[in-house]
Amino acid sequence: MADTRDKGLVAGRIFLYLVLIFLALLFLLPMYVMLANSFKPLEEIRNGQLMALPIDWTTAPWRSAWSTAQIGVQATGLRPYFINSFLLVIPAVAISTMFGALNGYILTQFQFRGANLLFALMLFSVFIPFQIVLIPMAKTLGTLGLAGTVKGLVLVNSVYGIGFTTLFFRNYYAAFPVELIRSARMDGARFFAVLFRILLPSSSPIIIVTVIWQFTNIWNEFLFGASFSDFSSFPLTVALNNLVSSSTGVKEYNVHFAGAFIAAIPTLIVYVASGKYFVRGLMAGSVKG
């Protein structure tokens, strides 16, 4: 009796792992297809099949995607747009994270009228469909002379990141031991002393979470990029979409796959290196209050 039950359990475990492994392969499939086919000559994709490994390995699609593929009118490859994305992401992440830390500190450690309303307004701004701000933002950027520039995109992504970063830091500082701050104040610590000597030194986890979250979001952002940039200031996502959807000439699938992978590499590296913090950001962003 016990024996058959054990056998049943073992069979159940084996079945469980088979299902899990099958699902894992299914989830890895699109990445595998992208990677495998980015190393094939075009002929091999047309005449062979998408799931097979390359027979005639080549790095030509990668070189083409990086430096010679046609994006719009120019044959520059994705390289300048890769650089644009970094020029966009670094300041936008830094600015929105700094504002988030400052806001989180002020909203949790000081009382003033309307603080809750203010936070509610910031919280809701995280959810709005950005279509609702596209037209006035386009007009604003035009007035400021920032239309079609990376600077303009830095501004837009910073502004609409503040809701998230404030949410992260506010929730973190709300759980911060009050005594520590109170005793520091007794010793005469001023506004910035409390922030720089007490709060920030023990904020590394939330800073990492916020930076990773903002980096991933802004790197992957498409709507603002498509609306507010031109050929000189496209972020990588927009350039990639142009590369893939350009209707002229032969469809170079292998170059598209290489290009798509190039666009995925930075956030994939961050995910593999610090997935724990990425997941924490996801969870923090979903349990809002």
Partner: protein, 288 residues
């Protein structure tokens, strides 16, 4: 501590930015939707004309219909699969972290990237259909992405693939938070694992279902990047969503007031889903 002038001063840039660039812009767009703006904003009041025009446009009605199909399937399938994945992961398995990471990694990648991968995978010319025929299954046919009545399901497939891991993570956190005593008691009483899930565990996951629903619904309404990369709205307008409609009418068809009206309706839809949830969450926080 009561705020002096310094905290208020340092908070004010964010406050001004949010008030202007979120709420001010919302009001601006709402106002535009009651004008006759075409290529550039015009400020003369023209009542509800653009809404009336919007509701008569086949492109809008198709977009809304597509969103209904897409959102329903996407939310349902992702919730079910997310819960299923979480339960599978929760069986004290080996290499749990690895499986979790594999199911969740699409969330770290741009929809433009994954949309490109799926676009060619689902393309009958080189993707799944081509592959099956090469292997020897000559009659295999899978060309949904090229068929007007089926393409929207391709969007569902790619979107489900992208977000299932996220919902799994939400459910997993919920599962891990459930009190073990009740489960042990049920097990002693001879309940089968499936019964334990059905009667004890899943009913306690109610709040997770609500959070996941709100997040998925708002993602469905906002979906744009994936559509552009995967189908670009096609074939024809078979995969247009309100987000695609808004962009087209505002920026390429020079009907800005109609585009603004569509954006207002998108915001209203999200408000209906999100506001009750947020009010409830804030209340919970306030009362401990």
């Amino acid at each position: 501590m009561r705020a002096g002038w310094l905290p208020k001063l340092l908070l004010s840039p964010s406050v001004i930015l949010v008030l202007v660039c979120v709420y001010g812009y919302i009001m601006f767009t709402v106002y535009l939707s009651f004008t006759a703006s075409t290529m550039m904003p015009a400020y003369e009041w023209s009542g509800t004309a653009s809404y009336q025009r919007l509701f008569r446009l086949a492109n809008w009605n198709v977009s809304v219909g597509n969103l209904a199909v897409f959102a329903t399937l996407y939310i349902l399938v992702t919730l079910v699969l997310g819960l299923l994945f979480a339960i599978l992961i929760d069986q004290q398995i080996q290499a749990e972290g690895l499986f979790r990471s594999i199911f969740l990694y699409p969330m770290a990648i741009s929809f433009i990237v994954t949309g490109t991968a799926w676009k060619w995978l689902l393309d009958p010319g080189i993707g799944l259909e081509h592959t099956m025929r090469q292997i020897g299954w000559e009659s295999f046919s899978f060309g949904w992405i090229k068929q007007a009545d089926m393409a929207i399901y391709c969007v569902v497939i790619a979107a489900v693939w992208q977000t299932t891991g996220f919902v799994m993570a939400l459910f997993l956190a919920g599962l891990r938070g459930i009190d073990g005593e009740q489960i042990s008691a049920a097990r002693v009483d001879g309940a089968r694992p499936w019964q334990i899930y059905q009667r004890i565990i899943i009913p306690q996951l109610g709040p997770v279902f609500v959070s996941a629903f709100v997040i998925l619904a708002h993602m469905a309404i906002k979906s744009y990047d994936l559509i552009i990369a995967l189908t670009n709205g096609g074939p024809g307008r078979a995969t247009w969503l309100p987000s695609v409609f808004m962009y087209q009418y505002s920026f390429t068809r020079n009907e800005m007031s109609v585009g603004a009206a569509s954006a207002v309706l998108m915001l209203a839809a999200i408000g209906v889903v999100v506001l009750p949830y947020l009010v409830n969450e804030m209340r919970k926080v306030k009362h401990g």
